[in-house]
């Protein structure tokens, strides 16, 4: 396994994106045994050391111009999310409006990357967002538990894609993963990715949610990351937001190490999305510091890093206003959607 990773220091190498690197893991994924051998051959993660490294990066002091840069970038990386049983068309329209114009009083405020909704709300979100450029992301595959037959998960995915979703956030079968049926998880991701295809347009992008709060160990997070990347996921995502703990700094760091190593090995870039529990600008900036120092500056872009969040956005807006005006405004000066 170790030999797969190139050894030259290439933190700042240009993103090679995708094409023509000719990497091939078909010998790894041809059987349960080979896949298992590969995943268990990945270097281990020492939990104490990983936690300490993430905590140390969390002490970076991001001020003035760097903070302004980070806040605007974080806003552009938000997948503004509502995933409630109580969601209605009205709620989704309000959220989509917010995503396009997070701060109506300030035209320089950037839009968020996407809104994230259940499949039945995709059409509504799509209509509201129009050609604004803000994407529609839909959770699918029997989100959040993933406990349904494969054909139901695929139908769920196709339904969202047909309704106009640009991005699909799927969940892996954690039961299969934890019982060691890695090939099943792999094949499911491949199948969902195929279901993301659109006959008359670009394929929807696939984010693969691990629910790291259920996988628990960092070794599992690293294995799940490689599994999803080999299966063709465009993004790897920590959590559904429905299980505690959701995103954490160390888990996100380990996923960033995985995408960094995957690019070294294959030339392919994969995005990372922590989701759930990121509520303050201070937290978001810590994540961006880790992106910057672990994966490198190429990932400092909404194409390659996202925040799955809802309350985070207003805190970012408050901090943004504070930086512009020098004063904090009360919460009533920011819209509740």
């Amino acid at each position: 396994m170790l030999g797969l990773m190139a050894s030259s220091p290439t933190t700042d190498a240009p993103p090679t994106g995708a094409r023509g690197q000719g990497w091939d893991y078909s010998d790894v994924t041809r059987s349960e045994a080979t896949l298992r051998r590969f995943l268990h051959g990945l270097p281990g993660v020492d939990q104490v050391g990983a936690d300490a490294r993430a905590a140390a990066l969390g002490t970076r002091s991001i001020k003035t111009t760097a903070k302004a840069f980070a806040i605007d970038l974080a806003i552009r990386m938000v997948d503004l999310t509502t995933l409630e049983g109580a969601d209605t068309a009205g709620k989704v329209r309000a959220l989509a409006s917010k995503a396009m114009r997070p701060d109506p009083s300030d035209p320089t405020c950037p839009a968020t990357a996407a809104v994230c909704v259940y499949p039945d709300m995709v059409a509504t979100a799509r209509r509201t967002l129009g050609t604004s450029g803000v994407h529609v992301a839909a959770v699918a595959t029997a989100f959040p538990s993933g406990r349904a037959a494969l054909d139901i998960k695929l139908a769920d995915t196709r339904d969202a894609v047909e309704a106009g979703a640009d991005e699909i956030d799927m969940v892996i079968d954690r039961g299969a993963f934890l019982s060691g049926r890695y090939l099943q998880v792999f094949e499911e991701i491949v199948a969902v990715r195929e279901a993301c295809a659109r006959p008359n347009g670009p394929s929807a992008h696939l984010k693969v949610i691990f629910e790291t709060g259920e996988l628990q160990t960092y070794d599992n997070v690293r294995r799940a990351s490689w599994l999803a990347m080999m299966a063709g996921g465009h993004f790897i995502k920590t959590s559904t937001g429905k299980v505690q703990p959701a995103a954490t700094l160390p888990v996100t760091m380990i996923m960033l190490e995985a995408v960094r190593d995957f690019r070294e090995a294959t030339g392919q870039m994969v995005g990372v999305k922590p989701a759930g529990g990121i509520r303050t600008s201070k937290d978001a900036i810590k994540y961006l510091v880790i992106v910057n120092e672990v994966a490198g500056t190429d990932w400092l872009d909404p194409d390659w890093f996202r925040f799955g969040a809802s309350t985070l956005l207003n805190d970012l807006l408050m901090q943004r206003t504070k930086m512009r005006t020098g004063r904090y405004s009360g919460p009533d000066y920011f819209t509740l959607d």
């Binding site: 170790l2 030999g3 990773m5 050894s7 030259s8 220091p9 290439t10 933190t11 994106g17 995708a18 091939d24 893991y25 270097p43 281990g44 993660v45 020492d46 104490v48 050391g49 990983a50 490294r53 002490t59 970076r60 002091s61 991001i62 001020k63 003035t64 111009t65 760097a66 840069f69 980070a70 605007d72 970038l73 552009r76 950037p110 839009a111 968020t112 990357a113 996407a114 604004s132 450029g133 803000v134 994407h135 670009p202 394929s203 992008h205 063709g232 465009h234 190490e257 392919q268 995005g271 961006l288 510091v289 910057n292 120092e293 500056t297 400092l300 872009d301 909404p302 194409d303 390659w304």
Partner: protein, 494 residues
């Protein structure tokens, strides 16, 4: 597998600045410290003039003169020892452990209250990054006083002194410049807890936090003479350790000076503990948690600019992963931020003195001459002050001087090994034996290798972790005696 399209989000698409996420300067304010123009000696609870020729202490990051500091001559040393003896006879040895503990707890709390001041002053005088003085040095200093305060009334359970342990008397203590306040704490806290009084000499390049500690002793109403701080260079230290009325000598510093002290103390009744140099092996096996091992290597050699006696200055990496590990290490080193010690984002600060910088340069040049390959990440060093970039030498063998001599700077020598037996053999093949590190996911191997390593501290899947409850000290030319933990009491009791 199908090729991947680049996701394009339609968000405003602002151009990323060419330099990406550049951290703006985040300097810690200096305004909290009040550096006086000149400092005297702290003897018998008061600041007094010194008889020697006053010297200057500078900020190694800027070469700015910070203050003039008195030099203690032989008469001053004698006065300080007399003050300590008087305090011992009349007050300190007569107090119950419980009463002594109250003072130590009080000192510990004041250190916590004034922690920012101490951290800033330490970074200014020493050159270490504020994030280390703030998050490592000062918190451990406070923890050390808290820890030994807890022992003061429980000494009969320490296992030393046959159930009725007694203090030794006056301790003469000489400490180095790499962790000025932390080494002070390692010396003073156990000495006082055990009922001794002390005369301590800080290093001549870093006296300021010790002098601030003297003020803290006044603030804590510590009886006069229990702690005396005398400043000066080698001559002052020599006078202190050879003073006939000193019962205990404790020294941390170079092996060369340690040997001279051992000679000076030989044939007397003085009890001696020495904590000297090191050339620690950091051993990385092919099944190591590799990203954490890279962090451990970085912590091992670049923490405190490598001015650490237990620094992991020899990386022993299993040949089968050497190339990959070095690639990762170099990538990681490229993210290290070298510069203003007071900037909260600085990872590597200034070399403590021109003299030390010269020694690092000299030994690095020897490494070049011996045919090792030098590598440093591109990094801009400030114009003034003393700086050395984080550096690794590859292609180093046991026969190279840079694999044998302590460089005491941010310079790592990389060697390889093929089998666990070879790793142990190479790790132990040094006149030193202070610390070592083992990186492997295999628990049984950790235990086996740790038993075979002749080093006082062996870290497993971590490096440079310090805790007051853990004993610290060396084998062979790294010294004798232990500081910290229950074992740290032994050097101050009879």
């Amino acid at each position: 597998m199908a090729e991947k399209n680049v996701v394009s989000t339609g968000s405003t698409g602002e151009a990323r600045p060419a330099n990406g996420f550049d951290y703006a300067p985040a300097p810690e304010s200096r305004s909290i410290v009040d550096i006086k123009a000149s400092y005297g000696l702290f003897v018998n609870g008061e600041f007094v003039d010194g008889g020697g020729k006053a010297f200057k202490t500078i900020n190694p990051a800027t070469e700015e003169v910070l203050a003039e500091v008195a030099e203690a001559d032989a008469a001053d040393v004698d006065a300080a020892v007399k003050a300590a003896r008087r305090a011992y006879d009349r007050v300190w040895s007569k107090l119950s452990g419980r009463e002594r503990a109250k003072y130590l707890y009080r000192i510990a709390r004041i250190i916590q209250e004034r922690s920012r001041e101490l951290a800033v002053l330490e970074s200014i005088d020493n050159g270490k990054p504020i994030k280390e003085s703030r998050d490592v040095d000062v918190p451990i200093v406070a923890a050390h006083f808290f820890y030994y305060a807890g022992w003061a009334d429980k000494l009969e359970y320490s296992g030393y002194g046959g159930g009725n342990p007694q203090p030794l008397g006056v301790a003469g203590q000489v400490i180095p410049w790499n962790f000025p306040l932390l080494m002070l704490a390692w010396k003073i806290a156990p000495a006082l807890a055990c009922g001794n009084t002390v005369v301590l000499k800080p290093a001549e390049t870093t006296p300021l936090t010790a002098l601030l500690f003297a003020e803290i002793c006044q603030q804590a109403d510590l009886p006069a003479g229990v702690v005396n701080i005398i400043t000066g260079a080698g001559e002052t230290g020599r006078a202190l350790v050879s003073h006939p009325d000193v019962d205990k000598v404790a020294f941390t510093g170079s092996t060369e000076v340690g040997k001279a002290i051992a000679r000076a103390v030989a044939g007397t009744n003085k009890k001696l503990t020495l904590e000297l140099g090191g050339k620690a092996a950091n051993i990385v096996f092919d099944d190591a948690p590799i990203d954490q091992a890279v962090e451990g290597i970085v912590d091992g050699i670049f923490f405190n600019q490598g001015h650490v006696c237990c620094a992991g200055s020899r990386l022993l990496v299993q040949e089968s992963i050497a190339e990959e590990l070095l690639g990762r290490l170099k990538r990681r080193m490229s993210t290290l931020r070298v510069g203003d010690p007071l900037d909260k984002n600085t990872d590597i600060g200034a070399i403590n003195s021109a003299e030390q910088l010269e020694r690092i340069r000299e030994l690095s040049a020897v490494g070049d001459a011996e045919g090792a390959e030098r590598w440093s990440p591109p990094c801009e060093l400030p114009q003034h002050g003393f700086w050395f970039p984080p550096t690794i030498f590859t292609g180093v063998s046991q026969a190279h001087r840079i694999a044998r001599e302590e460089i005491f700077g941010p310079v790592l020598s990389v060697l390889t090994f093929r089998t666990p037996a070879e790793a142990v053999e190479k790790a132990n093949n040094t006149p030193y034996g202070l610390s070592a590190g083992v990186w492997t996911d295999k628990g049984s191997r950790i235990l086996k290798i740790a038993n075979e390593l002749r080093a006082g501290v062996v870290w497993a899947n971590t490096f440079n972790k310090f805790d007051p409850t853990s004993p610290f000290g060396g084998y062979k030319e790294s010294g004798h005696g232990r500081e910290g933990g229950r074992h740290g009491l032994e050097g101050y009791l009879r």
